[in-house]
Amino acid sequence: MLTGTALFLSSILTLAAIYAVIALALNLEAGVDGLWDLGVVSFVAVGAYTYTMLTVSPASAGQSYIMGFGLPMWVGVLAAGIAGSIVAFLIGKPTLKLKNEYFLITTFAFAEVIRQILTNERWLSNGVAGVYNLAQPFKTYFTPSVYPYILLLLLVIIVFIVYVVVHRLTYSTFGRSLKALRENEPLALTAGIRPDRFHIRAFVIAGFFAGTAGAFYVWYSTVITPSLFTSDITFFVWMAIVIGGLANNKGAIVGSVIFVLAGESLRFLDLGSGFAVRMASMKIAILGLILIAILKWRPQGILPEKKVKFSNSSKNS
């Protein structure tokens, strides 16, 4: 029982780690900078598809997609990040001047349009049928029973790297300027901070990491279809950072893990298969209650935004 649970746990933690990467990216743009981005899934989708199209072999009979270069995975991951950045730049350039709710709905609309294109343009990415049986990294070196742990280890390392990068950005001058824009844009202007430039940088960086997360998502699911990239991912990651604590990078990770764990551990609430379907609905309600409860008793999230102190900075560094 224990070992089986460990295996299941490692599988869902892997998923949590992927969400954590997206959450860290979103946290930079939405938590540190104050962008209400409801289209973060578009970076993930474009990253995932770029990765897949570059790393798979050419389309076989009955399939149809572009590229299929069979490039190494790491090239694919890097390309996924770059593709995410490019999409972020293209979306951000015209939309970043919009205010909160307007920005929110425009980014959401972009995400929907991108998903519709991926759904309907068969020649591009094999449409709704998607591409199946995609490779996982370092798979051949390990036995299948150990591999889930290896994938988890790999993703933990990735989360750690992304965390370090985002953490450094957050507490750099750059991050401080983003926070200033979030807190009081007119005042930030008088400090000589140029909003459009800083916003687009934050957006593009977030696009990069969310793009790479797309590649990791493909590792996890071994399948790519447009239905993977609904706005559920966006809402999920938003909830993770709100629960974890907006603008706290550790919070983004903690929020992702807690939210995935909360959802998945409800699978252990078992009243037998006869009730399984109704239970699935009830679990949604329980998840909702958990969310409400956390927000009620910890409105700033589990790990609220940290106070930046310099008073004894020499000892702390």
């Binding site: 070992t3 089986g4 998607g130 049986n133 889930p148 071994t222 399948v223 993977l228 298969s273 379907v277």
Partner: protein, 415 residues
């Protein structure tokens, strides 16, 4: 920086611990059986596939009850663990992992098209057979079968497509068809298969209209379809779209005959749209000679749940998959995925004594006979890729008193 180094160190240590635990697990897992035999069921209890969830799980439970009533398998009772795959790929991986590692299931039943495709390598690597009961995707046509751990008891869209095309072109004598399908994986696959086969038979597709899900109206789409002057409308959608679409077609007094996919062959749809469903046709796979399988299942299911099963809800496919898995396990005499995998074809396919229930099956097995299970959904004979085809198809139609009735049966062996 030191803090980070420490943190990484701890994380790696923790992971190493987990891995070593997992490593130990693999050695014990093979032998761990427990007092029960565990079957897993993975299906979309939430999300797009949710309308099908209850009926299919009920059907599997009906089978489990029957198995346990007959003394279980190898003297052990069977427990069904049902997990929500959230109608998608991500949930499918989670559900399957949980069923395999936590519930120690030796077979996973149920997944739909996208979800089962996500388990392609999972099934093979973990040596756990996955038997789809409600997936039509043609992507599965040539990748399953013994050794690949993927199976299905629901017919492939490719096969249904051939049947539908034959029925439309040859039996009804219709040449011009307009296709309306929803752009989801299941619906697209069915529509493409029909298109391909209908054109191969010399028919003309006058227009293909792809619909987005969840719209409040499809008036514009219907108008486009009618303008192309087809002799028949081929409809491939989920429940929700079908409800709106059929109502609107009725409201516009459009008299063009309608052929829906098997999925639309259910009573909820008819109850929902009432008169608008009258005349809706649909094709399903049946036995060639008069088989009692379906009737027996209808009776059994109705007794248990108070409503009759419908072909479009894949209940019979779900039921059959459960029974076949149980028979395979009984035949193998060993509760492992690998053992079941190797016997699935054998118990379901000829040659052998034809059996129609689990009790008959184990009796024959005990007598040392090879068996050939004939199920509620048809003969359930797997081809080399783990797909089932049928010997005949029935054309179903909604009668004016709002009942699905069989209007004709056509031999499908020649298709």
């Amino acid at each position: 920086m030191n803090k980070w180094l420490k943190l990484t160190g701890i994380l790696i240590l923790a992971l190493a611990l987990v891995i070593s635990l997992g490593g130990c697990g693999t050695t014990t897992e093979e032998t761990a059986g427990g007092d029960t035999i565990n079957f897993g069921y993975s299906s979309g209890f939430t999300g797009d596939m949710a309308p099908w969830a209850e009926p299919v799980v009920n059907a599997a439970n009906a089978a489990i009850d029957e198995i346990n009533a007959a003394g279980g398998i190898l003297g052990k009772q069977v427990v069904l663990y049902a997990e929500d795959n959230k109608s998608g790929v991500e949930g499918s991986v989670q559900a399957a992992t949980k069923l395999l590692s936590v519930n120690k299931c030796t077979v996973i039943l149920g997944p739909e098209s996208d979800p089962i495709m996500a388990l392609q390598s999972f099934a093979k690597e973990n040596k756990i057979p996955v038997i789809g009961t409600q997936c039509g995707t043609s992507a599965l046509d040539a990748i399953g079968g013994t050794g690949n751990y993927l199976w299905r008891t629901s017919p492939s869209d490719s096969f249904i497509g051939i049947c539908e095309a034959n029925v439309v072109k040859n039996t009804m004598g219709i040449d011009k068809v307009c296709i309306m399908y929803e752009n989801t994986e299941g619906s697209t696959s069915a529509a493409e298969s029909f298109t391909h086969n209908f054109e191969a038979l010399g028919g003309t597709i006058v227009n293909t209209i792809v619909m987005s899900s969840n719209q409040s109206s499809y008036s514009s789409e219907i108008k486009k379809a009618v303008d192309s002057a087809p002799q028949l409308l081929y409809i491939s959608t989920g429940q929700v779209v079908a409800n709106t679409l059929l109502k609107e077609i009725y409201q516009k007094s459009i008299e063009i005959p309608l052929l829906g996919t098997t999925e639309l062959q259910n009573d909820e749809l008819v109850a929902a749209v009432q008169q608008a469903a009258v005349g809706l046709m649909s094709v399903r796979v049946v036995e060639n000679e008069d088989s009692t399988g379906w009737d027996r299942f209808v009776e059994l299911y109705t007794d248990k749940f108070g409503v009759a099963p419908m072909a479009g809800y894949y209940q019979s496919n779900s039921y059959d998959a459960t029974i076949i898995a149980a028979l395979a396990l009984a035949a193998a005499g060993e509760n492992t995925g690998e053992a079941i995998e190797n016997k699935l074809s054998e118990v379901a396919n000829p040659p052998g004594v034809k059996v129609g229930s689990y009790a008959d099956g184990i009796a024959e097995l005990a007598a040392g006979n090879d068996i050939d299970y004939e199920g509620a959904s048809g003969p359930c004979d797997f081809n080399e890729f783990g797909n089932v085809n049928g010997p005949a198809v029935a054309v179903m139609e909604v009668s004016s008193d709002l009942k699905w009735v069989q209007t004709q049966k056509i031999d499908a062996t020649g298709f």
